[in-house]
């Protein structure tokens, strides 16, 4: 099994989840708010009041085939809006 960690803006969360559902991910977990810094952006909780929100951290445990589908749908979102996606190995307890 693989583990995918996605960190995207809360604003893009809906599209990311839609992509996960379409790619057949068996499940996912979402943690928010997440703050942080990337090459382009600096996200604090400070803008919370504005509806602009912070980031969300999405964790997906899935088979490698799901990742192949996600690569097509999620990478364009990340390239356009920012955010990161990393894959690691994981095995059930």
């Amino acid at each position: 099994m693989k583990r995918l960690d996605l960190i995207v803006s809360e604003r893009e969360l809906d599209s990311v989840i839609e992509a996960l559902d379409k790619a057949g991910a068996p499940g996912y977990s979402v943690i928010r708010p997440v703050t942080g810094r990337g090459p382009d952006t600096y996200v604090t909780e400070g803008m919370d009041f504005s509806g602009l929100g912070a980031n969300a951290h999405v964790i997906v445990f899935c088979e490698i085939e799901v990742l192949d589908k996600l690569r097509v749908t999620i990478n364009p979102i990340l390239n356009y809006y920012g955010g990161v996606a990393y894959v690691a190995e994981a095995s059930p307890l």
């Binding site: 708010p33 909780e45 400070g46 009041f49 504005s50 979102i77 356009y80």
Partner: protein
């Protein structure tokens, strides 16, 4: 021109405003950032305060509208407000293109076309403290001025950027999504909905409205102070950001609101508004959005750097209007509006 009006009268107004609890709490938050004090208002508390303020201000506006009706200046004033939300971005864009690319210029322009609900609320408080009356219908533009500003901003992007935009392959600008976001932004929706609820229930459920009153009145000013404490923190953080953005934007963020205020004042005079309404109209023109517009720009014009459009609105225009702007514009109102209005 406006600066020349800073007479003794204005100085008194400025002092009364700057030494009111709401502005002092704003300063308290800002100073905390500069002193690096460990003061923090964690999420989602600021959201709680802003939800409350918008709900209460909308409800109060609806109540007032139910009492006063739609006669007289109501329809003209609302119409002109909405027009201003479209015209101001055009003026801003021409100025901003001197230094910024199309994307950033359009995003900042949209921001200044729209309004800051909290600046509006602070101006209402100022009027109350000065015992100057104003009308509830002035709240309506709070919900109506976001969309035109966003749409004009996006039209400017579309016209201005000749080459195909990277996102036009589906992830990019999508007019349906844009309109949705601009009109169904949570805060815009809440303020419009609360206005309608305040209106309907004033007519059909006076007992319900009576039970609502302590919540929307007694409690209001304190929450405003709490929220401004947080805004002081955020504005000061953004102000630090702004220094990197350069002098042009710093000047823009102060002079543009003053210019818009002047236009607003002349229009208020033409519309025949009284002192209170005139000040509120000026605030609608001169304040800049940090809610619906930045959110829409973030989604639809990711090429624009949020540092510019958010930091200018929050880091300078917001504090300027809250401290010096409101009393200064009041001085302007006294100059422009015939006293018997």
């Amino acid at each position: 021109m406006i600066t020349a009006t800073a007479t003794a009268l204005d100085a008194g107004l400025i002092l009364a405003n700057v030494l009111s609890p709401k502005v002092l709490f704003f300063f308290l938050g800002a100073i905390a950032v500069f002193l690096n004090a460990d003061l923090e208002i964690p999420a989602p508390l600021p959201k709680l305060f802003s939800l409350y303020l918008l709900m209460a201000v909308g409800f109060r506006g609806g109540m007032a509208l139910a009492k006063d009706g739609f006669g007289g200046q109501v329809i003209p004033t609302i119409t002109v407000s909405v027009l201003m939300a479209a015209v101001i971005p055009l003026i801003c864009f021409c100025i901003l293109r001197l230094r910024f690319d199309v994307f950033n210029a359009a995003a900042i322009s949209a921001t200044y076309g729209s309004i800051s609900a909290v600046t509006f609320i602070a101006a209402e408080s100022f009027l109350q403290a000065q015992n100057i009356s104003y009308d509830g219908f002035m709240v309506a533009p709070l919900a109506l001025m976001e969309s035109p500003a966003i749409i004009v901003g996006l039209v400017l992007v579309r016209l201005g950027s000749r080459q195909a935009r990277p996102g036009s392959d589906g992830t990019g600008m999508n007019w349906g999504k844009v309109l949705h976001e601009s009109m169904l932004n949570g805060y815009v929706y809440l303020i419009a909905g609360s206005l309608v609820i305040g209106f309907i229930s004033s007519v059909y459920s006076p007992a319900g409205v009576e039970k609502m009153e302590p919540f929307v009145y007694k409690f209001f000013y304190g929450v405003l102070c709490f929220f401004l404490l947080d805004m002081g923190i955020v504005a000061a953080q953004r102000f630090k950001d702004l220094k990197k953005a350069g002098a042009f934007l710093v000047f823009f963020a102060i002079l543009m609101p003053m210019f818009n205020a002047l236009i607003g004042g002349l229009l208020a005079r033409a519309l025949g508004l009284g002192y209170g309404n005139a000040l509120l109209f000026i605030i609608l023109c001169s304040s800049a959005s940090y809610i619906a517009v930045p959110t829409a720009m973030r989604m639809t014009v990711p090429e624009a750097n949020p540092r510019y459009y958010i930091s200018s609105a929050l880091g300078l225009t917001f504090p300027f209007n809250h401290t010096i702007g409101i009393p200064l514009y009041m001085g302007l109102v006294y100059k422009l509006i015939p006293s018997a209005a």
